[in-house]
Amino acid sequence: MTEVTLLDAVNMGLHSEMSADPNVVVIGEDVGLNGGVFRATEGLQKKFGVQRVIDTPLSESLIAGMSIGMAAEGLKPVAEIQFMGFIYSAIDQIISHASRLRNRTRGRLSCPLVLRAPFGGGIHAPEHHSESTEALFAHIPGLRVVIPSSPGRAYGLLLASIRDPDPVIFLEPKRIYRLVKQAVEDKGEALPLDVCFILREGGDVTLVSWGAMIHETLAAAEQLSLSGINAEVIDVATIKPLDMNTILESVAKTGHCVIIHEAARTCGVGAEIAAQLAEQGLMSLFAPVERVTGYDTVMPLFNLEQDYMPSIERIIAAVNSTLEEA
């Protein structure tokens, strides 16, 4: 078994699924010969040819729209939007069509596509390259929004997303693309969608997060353990549809919950989780749910991005605050 980065795992997953299923095609800007700007599609065109690994014109709405047409014809397009900040010109295709093609034709046509996009800040990228706007898509009925946070989950969740019969927005936390290596078996085994992953068990407080923030969250949990606080860490992984059962069960055990996400606070996915905790888990809670999030500001240019993004210190402060209130 080889040790791979999250980025390698995405590439491995694409290779694996393209080999396994001739209907899988990869499309996007610079995904062919160049292998993608992050190299996520490296080697695919050489192996599977220019017809299945398609360099598109610079047209995000086209990429999303043509994926819909391909999917309706029985292909399984895996499209790359180069950065999440460029997905907005494709949003009409995603919301008005991809998410509802099955519904508006009563199952006659369906849309098994994956739209991959690197997202999030922290890599000193130029303007519009550091967005975390997953909540936009989590709001849309008919979509799945999947966010891996480790090489193993990137591989397994990508395979599951490609095999899923419905559209998946697959957001890759680019800050941790090359951060850690992990042994991943390239055996074509998918992980389940629509479920959270418990990364660390603990009985004192539930930390809920996803994407790159999982790493700050795990680091915070580690530090908290030094002061005798045992945090349970949940990687939501599929933020739409949401697996609240796992979160509720954890909070029933701990009585405290801190939600951590990089995206802006208002109407972030954390707000939905907090609302559902209030609806279904209020009696388990010893203190109000805390949120550690990006601010309700425009994602700053990189000079200030570290000030914007939740830090280990902010997470620990929130945990201490919720525990003090008990």
Partner: protein, 380 residues
């Protein structure tokens, strides 16, 4: 000078030409206009296309237009009586759909906007399905006939990139099928239209774009939609053929779309056909065109409408009699009446059905929401 240096000189030539040569023309374009019969049904060209003498085909086209117009009238009256929601009429534009539908094969894929009923009926979409759709029932887009055709598309031009995806899939699999995408004049101002055209050209895809230029995008006249002389020329920028056809001349339409579809089917790439017609109706039943369009203009355009024109041609050729007309009228009326009955007696939609086609399998998180709708219903 050897070959090598010639190439080199050629390369340098491009660079120096900016400073050393006077400006000169580097590309030439032309937009052709096609018409076969004029508004009095008289041929305007010496060499008539084959179809002009094909009585059976002309009758088929005539019937398709005739039925669509009667259907349209019925749909509007249903809406006025509160038995149908907002409806988009195809009045005056029936020739475009009739020509498209007569040329499409079962395996081709139609991407309609929302005035292509004639094409859809010929493709096998039921009139009751169109009524169900405008009557607020999603089942209307679950065509029992053309399973692969795309549903009516309301967000303008958004069907164009999807047609590219289907055309790409066709090309990838080496099939001889065609994607046919119909758009309005307003759609040609949208990015999706340009993005689709550009890709169609870049990949030489088997797709035909047909622009229903009915001169009005709700209240915006063509003159304010664009400063371009034609909409067909928008194809030129994408490196593909664009041409204008009299959109009220079903014979010309048929001939040109046949040519374009044949070209696409043979692998020779896309075409844009701008069909010049006129929206003799309001935008939809929710619109009142008299707010922005003069009665005078509307009346002036009635003389060019497509059904009367083909009727005149076929009568002159003795292809069609008053008796044929009466028989057709009676048959269409029967067909429409039974479609209306089928629509009005369609089973009511269960409230929980709004959940049933969201995903292939209902996610756990929605089970409770679905159940709550069902409970509400059982309390009634």
């Amino acid at each position: 000078m050897n070959k090598q240096s010639k190439v080199l000189v050629g390369k340098q030539h491009n660079v120096v030409s900016r400073t050393q040569e006077a400006p000169h023309s580097v590309a030439h374009f032309d937009i052709q206009y096609h018409q076969v019969i004029d508004y009095e049904g008289k041929p305007v060209v010496d060499l008539l296309p084959k179809i002009a003498k094909d009585r059976d085909l002309l009758i088929k086209l005539y019937q398709a237009m005739f039925k669509t117009r009667l259907f349209d009238k019925k749909a509007i009256s249903l809406q006025r009586r509160g038995q149908l929601g907002t409806y988009a009429s195809a009045l005056g534009q029936e020739a475009i759909g009739a020509a498209i539908g007569s040329l499409m094969k079962d395996e081709d894929v139609l991407f309609p906007a929302y005035r292509e009923y004639a094409a859809q009926f010929l493709q096998g979409v039921k009139m009751s399905e169109i009524l169900l759709y405008w009557g607020g029932n999603e089942q209307g887009m679950n065509f029992q006939g053309p399973r692969r055709d795309f549903p009516i598309c309301v967000p303008i031009a958004s069907q164009a990139p999807q047609a590219i995806g289907v055309a790409y899939a066709i090309q990838l699999r080496g099939e001889k099928r065609v994607a046919v995408c119909v758009l309005g004049d307003g759609a040609t101002s949208k990015g999706d239209f340009y993005e689709a055209l550009n890709a169609a050209g870049a990949w030489t895809l088997p797709v035909v774009f047909i622009i229903n230029n009915n001169r009005w995008a709700i209240s915006l006249p063509l003159s304010k939609q664009t400063h371009a002389q034609t909409l067909a020329q928008k194809a030129i920028a994408a490196g593909i053929t664009g041409e204008q056809v009299d959109g009220n001349d079903v014979i010309a339409l048929y001939a040109r779309i046949e040519q374009a579809m044949g070209k696409a089917r043979s692998g020779a790439g896309p075409t844009v056909i701008e069909a010049l017609t006129y929206r003799l109706c309001d935008h939809t039943t929710a619109d009142d065109a008299s707010r922005y369009r003069s009665e005078q203009e509307l009346q002036a355009y009635w003389r060019y409408e497509p059904i009367k024109r083909l009727h005149l041609y076929m009568t002159q050729k003795a292809y069609w009699s008053e008796q044929d007309e009466q028989k057709l009228q009676a048959r269409c009326q029967d067909e429409i009446d039974s479609a209306v009955q089928e629509y009005l007696h369609a089973p009511a939609q269960a409230p929980e059905s709004m959940f049933d086609y969201l995903y292939a399998t209902l996610p756990q998180s929605l089970v409770q929401q679905r159940a709550s709708v069902m409970r509400k219903e059982s309390k009634k």
